[in-house]
């Protein structure tokens, strides 16, 4: 198993907003973190150097914005890690991971199709799964009335919040260390 503590320390140094430890058997993850969008590319680079591979990129929409989750798995030993980015509704921009993981191009295009997120520096950000003349909102965007708060979705596991602004945004006490 890869060592989640090492990566949590890395992410803490990279300015993570929150760190979470997960139960691999239940949630399928060892650890995750909310990273500021600026830090994503560097953290992905570090993971690549440690022989991790980007297996999946999933997004979902919450009241606070889009949560984009990057799932990584090590090629050396099992142990899945993830980091997330919270993208505000008003400015749905994210850096592309294309320079590090070329496979990210398609995942990003798919997410752009479904959520209308924009991945800057993606070399080919054209519709992938939807038609080029797709009319209407991105299909996985929800009606504002149906949006759930991030807190309710249980993305955080047993977490610690490092950034008080983030804590205030999602309504968790930044001082508290929860054991959910």
């Amino acid at each position: 198993m890869s060592d989640p503590e090492k990566w949590l320390a890395n992410w803490r140094a990279a300015g993570a907003w929150s760190l979470s430890r997960h139960d691999l058997a239940k949630e399928g993850l060892l650890a995750s973190a909310f990273l500021p969008t600026k830090a994503i590319l560097n953290c992905a680079k570090e993971l690549k150097e440690a022989n991790f591979s980007l297996l999946d990129l999933s997004a979902l929409e919450t009241q606070e914005g889009f949560v984009v989750t990057y799932h990584f798995d090590s090629l050396n030993e099992p142990g899945r890690l993830a980091f997330r980015a919270l993208v505000p509704h008003k400015k749905p921009h994210l850096p592309s991971l294309y320079d590090v993981f070329q496979g990210a191009e398609w995942h990003e295009r798919e997410t752009a199709d479904f959520f209308g997120l924009i991945f800057d520096q993606n070399p080919n950000l054209i519709p992938l799964l939807l038609a080029d003349d797709h009319y209407g909102p991105p299909p996985l965007r929800k009606n504002p009335a149906d949006l759930a708060p991030l807190k309710k979705l249980g993305l955080l596991g047993s977490f610690e919040i490092l950034d008080p602004d983030f804590g205030a945004l999602i309504g968790e006490d930044s001082q508290k260390e929860s054991q959910s």
């Binding site: 949630e27 591979s53 979902l60 799932h71 099992p78 496979g103 752009a112 965007r141 979705l153």
Partner: protein, 399 residues
Amino acid sequence: MTFGSLNFVNPFGVWENPGSTAGDFYAVNFEKKAVSGRVILNLGPQHPSTHGVLRVLVELDGEYVARAEPVLGYLHRMHEKMGEVKTPWQFIPNMGRVDYLHPLAWNWAFVGAAEKLAGLTVPERAEYLRVIGCELNRIGSHLLWWGAFVMDLGGFTPILYAFEEREKINDILQIITGSRLTMANFRFGGVCADADERFFRLCAEFIPYLRERLKMYKGLVTDNVILRRRLEGIGPIDVDLCQRYGATGPILRAAGLARDTRKDYPYGVYPKLDFPIPTGPINDSFGRYLVRLAEIETSLSIIEQAIKDIPQGPIIMDKAPKATWKLPAGESYFTVEGARGQIAAHITSDGGKNPYRVKLRAPGFSNLSLFAEAAKGTLLADAIAILGSLDLVIPEIDR
């Protein structure tokens, strides 16, 4: 653009179709980067060797592929949205339709994720039935791939042999799943129907039968000199390429890494079964071919052990969830090993009637994404061979 209460801005701007002579949006987009004087060829969506409705735009320099770009979405059905508007129970049949060749693995991914999230326990007999079904399905998938792959290389006969075996597998699976193609016999907390004596008898008969046939296939196809010349050294995919594109399954194993979700993230009763992970001696198309054929033997030995060890007992847990069952709030990421690689279902729930978000990771999606790089500089015929060796199932890629 306003749509309902949403304020939506098309992030890509507005496109215009410049007319029929220049091609559609993707062709125009592809042609922008093309070197003048080269032929742009549209492989698909209707093409004999794209196995369905994949479309690959190819820039040809003579007969060499200078650049390739797969265009997806011709079979896109938005299963992820359907996951959000159906209750989890209603969504299970969808999983049989994502990948028509290995539906039970997708069943398991979704059902397993929900079970993990809700903390349901599955009776042991049901776990064994799941393993047997999944492995039979995997053999069927690999066999059909084998036939279709050789057909891509111009050999017509093997696919009919492969279908003969697959029919036998379907006959067996029909007993426990009730269907032959879009199987969905998994339920939260178990499976829907028990296996009878005939099922185990047919399984026991099938294993030695297929072993005999595999020997024949080796002599008839694998050792054929034309086939070997067509595959050896064609389309090497090394670990670095797999890492950058997130390729899994037989492709990664042919590159030499013994990574298998059944061993890495054990689920079901796989930890109790003894089986090897076949890895390829070489990372070219022929290596991937050999790995898949070796996996058929692995699956046979798993089935052999499972039908020996399967206990008596219930096939579904007590008070199993019903159609109106709600998932508890939380997140679950569950992976299983499909015939094409790691399948993952990522369920996020807010405790409501329907899941809040269902994300499906299709292994073929990542595997296909490396095609553009792997096919660069190869002959058109080799590009077709590489495409075939990736084992594509388009409904799974498009979801």
